[in-house]
Symmetry: C2
Subunit: 257 residues, 2 copies
C-alpha cells in the first residue's frame, strides 16, 4: 500500500513486524484498547497490513512475551490487565559506574582471608563443609569520598583462577564480572542505619541511613559469590525506567524479613 511496504525504495522502512507491533502497542498503552479487549485476529491483521500471517504472528508473539496480551487458541488475543509494577533494575559494576561519571575511582582492600566454609557460609551459599571460601572486605572511593563498603564471600572451588586476580588492587566484583561469564542472581535491597563500624569506614555519622544491597550469584546452579554492599543513602540511588515494550514478565517478589 504505502511506501513502507516497498522495502527496496525507502531509507530504512523499519521492519513490518515491528511496525505492526508498535501500532498495537500504542493502542494498548493509550488505553484505546483496554484490558480484556479482543484484538483483531491474525487473519484480519494480515489483510489489513497486506502481509503474510507469519509476519503478524511475529508481532503478536512478541507482544505476548512482553506480557501485554494473552493469546488463546480459538478465542483470539486479548489485552492483559497489568498486575504488578515491575521494573528492570540495573546494578552495575561499581568501578565502571564511577568511572562513567568521570569521577576518580579508588579501591582499597580492607581484609582478605581464605578459610573453610563456616556454618554461615553454608547456609548462605549452599556449599559443602569442605568448600574453600575467600572472605574479603573492601571500600570503593569516588573522588575523595568513600562510595561503598563491600563484604564478599567467593566460593574458590567454583572460581579456581581467582588466584590469578590481584585483589589488593583490583575490585573482586570487576574481576568476577569479566572472568565468570554468565550467571543468575538474587538481590535484596533494604535500608539500614549505619552502625559504628560501617559509619567509620564510610566516613558518615553513626545512624545515617544506608542502602544495603545483598546479592547472591550462581552459575549453572552452583553458588559463586555472595556480596553485601552498603551505600551512604544520600550518595546512591537506584534508578530504573520501565516500559512494557522492553521488559519481560517479572519472576520476582517483595518480601519482609
Amino acid at each position: 500500500m504505502d511506501q513502507n511496504n516497498d522495502r527496496t525504495r525507502t531509507a530504512r522502512p523499519s521492519p513490518l513486524h515491528q511496525r505492526i507491533r508498535s501500532d498495537i502497542e500504542a493502542r494498548i498503552l493509550s488505553g484505546e484498547w483496554s484490558p480484556g479487549y479482543r484484538i483483531p485476529f491474525e487473519h484480519q491483521l494480515m489483510v489489513e497490513y497486506g502481509c503474510a500471517r507469519m509476519t503478524v504472528n511475529k508481532a503478536l508473539y512478541s507482544l505476548a512475551e512482553a506480557g501485554l496480551i494473552e493469546r488463546r487458541p480459538r478465542a483470539g488475543s486479548f489485552v492483559r490487565r497489568p498486575t504488578v509494577q515491575s521494573a528492570v533494575l540495573a546494578i552495575p559494576d561499581i568501578k565502571a559506574e564511577i568511572l562513567a561519571r568521570n569521577e576518580a575511582y579508588r579501591y582499597e582492600l580492607l581484609s582478605l582471608r581464605k578459610r573453610l566454609a563456616s556454618k554461615g557460609d553454608r547456609d548462605l551459599l549452599d556449599v559443602p563443609p569442605a568448600a574453600t571460601i575467600l572472605h574479603l572486605r573492601c571500600r570503593h572511593f569516588a573522588g575523595p569520598r568513600p562510595f561503598a563498603l563491600e563484604e564478599r564471600r567467593i566460593v574458590v572451588d567454583e572460581v579456581p583462577n581467582i588466584a590469578e586476580a590481584d585483589l589488593r588492587t583490583e575490585p573482586p566484583g570487576t574481576w568476577l564480572l569479566q572472568h565468570v561469564p554468565w550467571h543468575s542472581a538474587e538481590h535484596q535491597i533494604s535500608a539500614v542505619n549505619a552502625d559504628a563500624a560501617v559509619a567509620s569506614l564510610l566516613g558518615i555519622r553513626i545512624g545515617t541511613a544506608c542502602l544495603m544491597v545483598d546479592r547472591r550469584t550462581w552459575r549453572a546452579g552452583a553458588a559463586i559469590t555472595a556480596v553485601r554492599t552498603w551505600f551512604p543513602g544520600d550518595l546512591q540511588k537506584l534508578v530504573t525506567r520501565f516500559a512494557p515494550s522492553s521488559a519481560a514478565g517479572a519472576v520476582s517478589a517483595a518480601e519482609t524479613r
Copy 2:
C-alpha cells in the same frame, strides 16, 4: 531423527525452536561457550537439527533479544559479555502485597487536596500550569503496624474518573492500577533517615533508616501520577531474582543525586 522431531507422537514435544534456544543457552550459561565465542552459523544449526533456517533464526533472534548473544551480518553470532547486573524488580500494589501475606490490611487517608499545579508539580510531572492536581497523603497498615507512608500527586486531567473513587476508603494506588490500564514508570530507590513527621506517622524513632521509593508514571507520554513511599527499613525488602533467560536488556541506570 529422534522422536522429538515427530510431533504427532510424543506427549508435548516442546517447540523445536525453544529446544534449540535452551540448548544454546545452556552452553552459554555453563561457560562452555564463553564470551566472544562464535556460535555455529544458522546454516550449520539447521543441518544439525534437521530443520529450516527460519526455525533456527527464531531461536537465535530470541537469544539476541535476551542479550545473551550479539548477531553481526556476514560475521556470525557471538556470545556477549555480560555488562551490568540487571534484575527485574517487582513493586506490587501494597494492598495486594499485604493481603497476599495473610496479614490484615488497613488504609488511612491523612489528607486530600485538589489544586492547580504548583511550580513543584510542574517540574515533577511536566504538566501545564492550568492542570489540576490531586495531592494526598495516606498510610498503609499491616496488622496493627504502619507499613508504609505514601504521598501522591495525581494529574486529574489525565484520570478524570478518579472522582468516582472513594479515596477515603480505597488506596489510590490500587484504584489507579485497576482503572488506568497500561503505563510506563520510573523508579528511584534510596535510603533516608526518618524525619520527625515520617517517624511519627510510621511509629518509628526519628532517624530510623527508611527505604524511600519514588515512582513516576506515564501513559502515552503524559504523566499520570507521582508517588513517594516510605517503608520502615526493617519491614520492607525489595527482593528480585534474575536469570538471563527471562529478563530483557536493561534500559536503566544508577545515578547519584
